[in-house]
């Protein structure tokens, strides 16, 4: 059959192109534009080439922040994914308690990030905070404003409190979609609890877990508000993560060029690691599917 050639159809794609241009391409290009220029204010710009990128690669401050960020995301995933699955497994499958659990689980997700930060900031204070005060009364030396280790613990516990629900809810949705016959068959086959998890629940949850890992990785890698409110990146720079460093650079020091180069690097790292996660997890899936 002869196909009619009508190039005018391209106009139908135009609205999408315009939307994407305004929402993503143009802002990103602005950043690219800044990253290759230098400015001393007054809207005067000078061509800088790749200087900022070269400097960035030799910048210990950036490498330190990146390292802290990777460790932070690693710890967050290592805690929240297994914990979320565990919570989902122990949630009731039916009955009135399902809604109660779901609402309770969703509560932390509904709290604005800076409020979460404020809650934990106060909660952990040694003088008036419930947590800090209790720990002090028990004779435990805890002070997140002075001890880097305590600061890390606080930020991690806060993130676990805030976000494990998300993993749990996703995993719960995955679990709920498993037909009852699988559990019945497992009973008939005399499968152990562990075997049921390993051979039924985990494979059936793989899809949602991939989403959970990606979401939690990206969010934890971009974390800004909560640690900023609680520790302000301190003590010293011990909890200064990439985004905190970036904001300091861009808005505190108004180094637009280096900050733009930093942003692009930041964006590429997230993209790269997400791609690695995605590829590895879908390949695992495929290999098992053969």
């Amino acid at each position: 059959m002869e196909k009619t050639v009508n190039q005018k159809a391209w106009f139908l794609v135009l609205p999408v192109l315009v939307l994407v241009a305004f929402s993503a391409v143009i802002p990103l290009m602005t950043v690219v534009n800044y990253s290759v220029q230098d400015s001393f204010g007054n809207n005067q710009f000078f061509w800088a080439g790749l200087t900022w990128f070269e400097e960035l690669l030799e910048d210990d401050r950036m490498w330190g922040a990146l390292q802290r960020q990777l460790i932070f995301s690693g710890i967050i995933l290592a805690i929240e994914i297994p914990l979320g699955i565990l919570v989902a497994l122990s949630m009731p499958k039916k009955g009135v308690w399902v809604s109660v659990c779901l609402v309770l689980m969703a509560l932390p997700l509904l709290i604005p990030w800076n409020v979460v930060g404020t809650i934990w900031q106060v909660f952990g204070r040694v003088d008036i905070g419930l947590l800090g005060g209790t720990l002090a009364a028990l004779g435990i030396d805890y002070n997140y404003t002075q001890d880097p280790f305590d600061a890390w613990i606080t930020v991690i516990v806060m993130d676990v409190w805030h976000w494990t629900s998300l993993v749990a809810l996703l995993a719960y949705a995955g679990l709920q979609s498993i037909p009852q016959a699988y559990y019945q068959a497992a009973k008939i086959d005399q499968a152990s609890r562990w075997a049921v998890f390993r051979y039924i629940e985990l494979p059936k949850m793989a899809g949602v877990l991939l989403i959970a890992v990606l979401l939690r990785f990206m969010d934890s890698f971009m974390i800004y508000t909560e640690p900023f409110v609680v520790t302000g990146g301190g003590p010293g720079s011990s909890t200064t993560f990439l985004s905190i460093d970036l904001v300091k650079m861009a808005l505190g020091q108004f180094d637009l060029g280096p900050a733009a180069a930093f942003s692009i690097m930041y964006f590429l790292v997230i993209l790269l690691i997400s791609w690695v996660f995605y590829t590895v997890m879908t390949n695992l899936d495929k290999r098992e599917g053969r």
């Binding site: 016959a181 019945q184 068959a185 009973k187 008939i188 086959d189 005399q190 494979p203 098992e288 053969r290």
Partner: protein, 362 residues
């Protein structure tokens, strides 16, 4: 292996059943003999699967007891009962290979590796998947997966019974027939008690020694295919088994005569005076189309030629009557009357068959 006894068994999915309708299974007493193949037949929602799950121990009955041999297993788990069950839709362990899937029930029970290997090979051959044994189960088609489920159900040799819950629903017709034959062979070979749930009468009649017909939470009849055909105990059995089903007509029965709306027929036995809803039932196979003046006048609507015989769809004063005319018999234009074979006319009171009081010749 053991005889299965259901004693005053009843089940309701409601915690406090109040009316008759709340009971998914009405009180029943039945004995299922050791080593027989049973087909549990009935329309959807009649309680077949509920009964099956109670026997396998996935469901605990609200009332009554279930015994394997002389042991009360009512509160025992599936594991303790040592039962195999195959479900309607394929259940396979996606991440395992076909071999691992088949070996799983044996491995969980700690069977020796040599035995497992040899047994899995046998079962693999039986379900026709020996070449695919090392494939992952995930990528397989639905009917291949269901064959794995069947294989997993048959892999243990020492089970008390094997239960099948409409296992061939997803299998294509050709394979269905082959698998059913294999199940039958397997039954003859090992003599497991098998219970096979289905709503397909052909499947039930070809598979089973005894067919158990369920209707509305009750077992209405348990018998050989012949018994179900010759003497349906309930009008539902008459309708459900046979193609087309039994003709049922309202009647007044007295002694050896049954008075219909506009006529009378003779019965093979004598009956007491019956009240309530009284009907006679006669299978289309035992109805003869005739031009003899003593037949009941009918209005022939159409004739269907189904190959081996013809089905005549007729109408007797508003009630449909089907007649099966064997191959080679001509149907004349003046054949507008039907005769019933008195020996095969059953009498029903409120849907249940009434046995004649005397069988002496008329």
């Amino acid at each position: 292996m053991a005889k299965i006894t259901l004693s005053n068994l009843a089940h309701s999915y409601f915690p406090k059943p109040t009316s008759e309708e709340d009971w998914a299974l009405k009180e029943m007493n039945h004995v299922w003999n050791d080593g027989e193949a049973y087909a549990l037949l009935g329309a959807s929602g009649c309680g077949k699967s509920t009964l099956l799950n109670i026997i396998s121990g996935l469901l605990e009955p609200s009332e009554g007891q279930i015994l394997f041999g002389d042991t009360d297993v009512t509160h025992m788990t599936t594991t303790e009962r040592n039962i195999a069950q195959v479900f309607q839709f394929p259940v396979v362990y996606d991440t395992m290979t076909v071999r691992e899937n088949l070996a799983f029930p044996l491995k969980n029970r700690g069977a020796p590796a040599d035995y497992i290997r040899q047994r899995v090979q046998t079962i693999g051959q039986m379900i026709g998947m020996e070449v695919e044994l090392d494939h992952r189960a995930r990528g397989l088609t639905a009917d291949a997966k269901q064959k794995i489920s069947l294989g997993r159900g048959m892999v243990r040799e020492d089970v008390n019974a094997i239960l099948f819950d409409e296992p061939l629903t997803v299998i294509d017709p050709h394979m269905k027939w082959a698998l059913r034959t294999q199940l039958k062979e397997l039954h003859q070979q090992f003599g497991h008690t098998m219970i096979y749930v289905t709503h397909d009468q052909t499947e039930a009649l070809t598979f089973a020694d005894k067919v158990v017909v369920m209707y509305d939470g009750r077992v209405v009849q348990m018998g050989t295919p012949e018994e179900l055909f010759e003497t349906p105990e309930h009008t539902f059995v008459g309708y459900f088994i046979g193609s087309p089903g039994m003709n049922v007509l309202r009647a007044r029965v007295e002694g050896r005569r049954a008075a219909l709306d506009n006529g009378e027929i003779g019965l093979a036995g004598a009956y007491p005076a019956l009240d309530g809803k009284v009907e006679i039932g006669v299978r289309p196979e035992f109805v003869r189309l005739t031009d003899a003046p003593d037949g009941l006048p009918v209005n022939v609507r159409r004739v269907e030629d189904v190959g081996r015989h013809k089905i005549v769809r007729a109408d007797y004063f508003g009630s449909p009557i089907n007649v099966i005319v064997p191959e080679g018999h001509e149907i004349g234009a003046d054949m507008t009357r039907v005769l019933f074979d008195p020996a095969h006319v059953n009498v029903y009171q409120n849907d249940w068959r009434v046995a004649p009081t005397g069988q002496e010749a008329a």
